[in-house]
Structures are given as structure tokens and as C-alpha cells.
Amino acid sequence: MTTTAIGHNTHLAERAYRIRRNALLMGEVQGQGYIGQALDIADVLAVSYFHAMRFRPAEPEWEGRDRFMLSNGHYAIALYAALIEAGIIPQEELETYGSDDSRLPMSGMASYTPGMEMSGGSLGLGLSLAVGRCLGLKRKGSDSRVYTLFSDGELDEGSVWEAIMSAAHWKLDNLIAMVDVNNQQADGPSTQVMAFEPLVEKLEAFGWHVQRVNGNDLDAVVAAFDAAKACTEPKPRMIVCDTRMGCGVPFLEAREKNHFIRVDAHEWRLALDALDAGRT
């Protein structure tokens, strides 16, 4: 069973597969990890790094790069997986994930990891930092963009709406924000914890260019990033990504939904096998 729509973007499907595989291998190292989220966001990361963004693997701080700001620091396992696939972090470092003195801590921090542009984890922070970076880039006359990923649960935080209002006020057309709507946060389904819908209408009312896509449909995600980049309106861009926790590993996808999906020790291998089985 293929859980990831691949359409015309087979090279991106391969990237997304390897991001998922890297994440599962890291989860296996620690015997735990936010694997449900890593699997759901792999397609968005594949499109970000291997279709949309400009970067140099050997020069993670290259001035001309696009910036990727990870607000939801617990998604670090997913971003490390993408940074490994992008050649910014060596593949062999994967086995240090979450260990003492590793450059790959469980929650992403700017000072630890090449390619990690901010210290996330205190949820609701990232969009404010992204606003500042966009303003800074504009001051410098740079054409680099800021991509920032945050989660639907972060919509509960007031500071996120401060940043949403501000980004429109400053007409930050160099900002592409992605919100991962997997409808799961610490205490349960996000929409039950705090109703945030209708999200598209809200964000449009705040002055954003908004698209909503199936975040596990590579063709749709590619089209959304292309449209966000091609847009000429002086507005910040938001891509609302509806995703499925555990996407790519059917038995995890079917498991009772939880912020922290339980994976038994023997199941990491089974998950890798299931991922391979779904590869096309």
C-alpha cells in the first residue's frame, strides 16, 4: 500500500522516502522519538529542501541561502533526517541522535547543529523570529526567503497571532510559513484542544496569501510552493498542510493517534520494512 501520493515527482518521492528512513533509524537509536510527526512532515521537508529552497550543503551558513526556521523543536528528528539527506549533516552522525554530546539533540537548537537556524521547542516562538529575519533580509536587499515550519498546536499561542498580524503589516512577501495540521497535540486532537478553524479564512482575514493542501501529496505540495514563490502580492505566504501522523508506515498510521506514538523495540525494524514495502 502506498500512502504517499507521488504523481510526477518521483525524485522527490525518493527524497521523502529517505527522510522517513533516516528518521526511523534515529528513532531506533533512542527507542523513542516524535516519529509520528517526522513521518507526517517528510513530504513537506522533501519539497522544501529539494524543490523550493536554495542552499549549499558544504556551506550551511552561505549568505545567499534560503533560511529554514523550525519552530516546533520536537520535529528536529525530521529536520535532521532532511539535513542528512541534503548532505548538510553526515549520514553517520545519525546514530548519535539524542545521545550525550551529540550535535543532534532531541529538541532542535541553533548552537548545536549545522543547518538548524533557531532554538525551537518553546512553542509559538518561530514565527516571531522569522518576521525579524525577513525584515533583516529586506534591510540587506537580499532576495533570500525565510521558510518556517510550525504546528497546529502552536496556533493556541498568542504570540503566533502577534507574528501573523505583524508579517502582514510589514508585507513580508519573503516569508513562506508552513503549518502542519496533523490535528494532534499533547492533550489530544488539536481542534478539540482549542478550535482554530476555519484556518484559511482566518489567515486570509489577517492579510496572508493562503493555500491549503494535502501535505502528504507531493504534487500538491510542489504546486503550493511554486504558487507561493510565484505570487506577486505583497503578502506573507502560508501553506496549511493537512498531514497524517505516521504517514508511510501503515501500522503506525493506523495506531491510536497520540502526540507521542508508542513504538516497541522490535517495531522499528518492522516500520523500516513497511516503509520499504511502500516504496515505489
Binding site: M109, A110, S111, E117, M118, S119, G121, S122, G124, L125, L127, S128, L129, A130, V131, G132, R133, C134, L135, G136, L137, R139, K140, S142, G158, S159, E162, A163, M165, S166, H169
Partner: protein, 338 residues
Amino acid sequence: MKSATTALKTGDKPRLKTSAMIASIAGEGQRTKPAPFGHALVELAHTRPEIVGMTADLAKYTDLHIFAQAFPDRFYQMGMAEQLLMGAASGMAQEGMMPFVTTYAVFASRRAYDFIHQAIAEENRNVKIACALPGLTSGYGPSHQAAEDLALFRAMPNLTVIDPCDALDIEQAVPAMAAHNGPVYMRLLRGQVPLVLDEYDYTFELGKAKLLRDGADVLVISSGIMTMRALEVATLLAADRVDVGVLHVPTIKPLDTATILREAGRSGRLVVVAENHTVIGGLGEAVGAALLRAGVTPPFRQIGLPDEFLDAGALPTLHDRYGISANAMAATLKGWLR
């Protein structure tokens, strides 16, 4: 307010002398300078193009409007949103700018603490935070009285913390903050700011405590406006033949422990730490702990704000009430020396 306005219009009553609107820390007839922070920042910004000014709807009340007028394209109004302000300042700094960020001390310390902690201090960004209404310098009550800002910011790694005394201190602190590569929190005195330290052989040096006057009976170790008070107290008590020395400690962190130990270690003097801050977690406890750690144990007292929510009212009333006016402090010292 209505009766006061009427009184002013008709002139048949004297103007109220106990209104909470009386919010100046300058005494009657005291020499002052207008907006030293704003003017110093403008002067510095001419030679440092990376400086930007950012605020959360308080430019006019933190003297940042002077900068905004001089450099409108380098001024960022972030709205009444302190968390956004601190996060965006971090992002700006990451792109090579040097943001000078202003709000009130209560909002930076209480509302935006996590944002400063994570986005500025933990990431070690070159952001300068200048906050008005430190300690008890507003009569509005606890919503505007930052009695605990030093305790909170002292506890934050990477952060340098400054509590200047007067206009001269602020003017000299601004370029020193910029010269320091890293995040800084400065308590800001705004508007007509007293000018005191020009009468002493003094220059602000980041991280240095300075002995402003020597005294055989009491050593007051102080920061911020309490240094100004301590100097007044020294003059008041000189009439009673009490010899008061004043050690000004404008940098709260890193603390100039060497100078403090040297001065406090001179025998025979009562050591009093005076601060415009709750007695919990500020300069007093920092100095006390430094002395104990070094085995230096002079008679030791603290003058500062009590561990309670402070009253609203006129500042002169409140400074008397809480023992941080010159007269109140002089009486307290005399009591201790009796």
C-alpha cells in the same frame, strides 16, 4: 483627575502634590538632561549602520522616538506585542543587525521572559534591550513597577545586566553596550533624567564598579538611581559627622566582585547595599553571596523594596514609604549606626 484639571484651570487651588501623575525621579531644581538614551543612540547610529531601533508601542515613552525621527527607515514599530518584539529582534540580529529594543521593564521581564531567554540569550544574539520604569519609578502600581527585573535577568545566562544611575551613565553605557558582542539588558531612565555623576571623577565601564566617594563609617554599595540617593545621603549625613562612602555598581552582571570585596573588606565599616529593586534576588543578595563566598563578613544591611506588591501613588510619597528616598534612607542609616 477632574478636580485637578478644574483646579489648574481656575487657579483657585494649588496643583496636587501627591498625584500618581507625578512620575519624575528628578528632585526639584535638580540638573537634568533630556532623553539621554535617545540622543546617545542617534549619535552612535551615525557610525554604526547596523543599529536598528525596535519597540512595542512605547517609542515615545522610552525616548526611542528620537532615534525614529533621526532614522525613520531604521525604526521598527512592532505594535503592542512584546513577545513578537523579542523574537523579531533575535531574527534581525541573526541577519547582522544590532537591534536596540525598548519597552517597559515589567513587560520585558514578565511577559517576554521566555522569548528573551530562548531567542536572545540562549541563541546569544547581539540584541540590546533597554527598558523604562525599572524598580519603583512609576506610581501606577504593580502593573508598571518592575521590582523584580534584576532578579529575573540576573538568572539568565549570557545576558549582561546594567542599572545606570543618571544621564551621564546612560550616555556612556549606550556605546559600551554596542561594543560588547552579546545580549544586554539595560534599565532605562527616560525623559528629563537627573545629571549627577559629572561632578565625580567617573566614567562608565562595562563590568566595573567605581568608588565615587570614600567614607570611614559606612560603605553604600548601590546601583541605578540609588547611587544618586546614596550621594545625597552622604551629604546629608556629613552634617551629622557620619562619613559615607559610595561604591557605584552599574553593571549588575557580570558583577565586579574584585572591587566589591576590596572595598567591603576594609574593616570597621557598615556595608549597606541600596537598590531600586526588591530585596530578593537583586544587587543586595548578589553582593551578600559574594562576600560570604569570600569569607568577607562586615556588618551588612540591605535597603530595597519590600517583598510585597507596592502601592500606587506619587513617586515622592512611595519612595518615602518604601525607604528609598534620600531622607528615608538617611534615617535608616542613622538608626543602624546608633
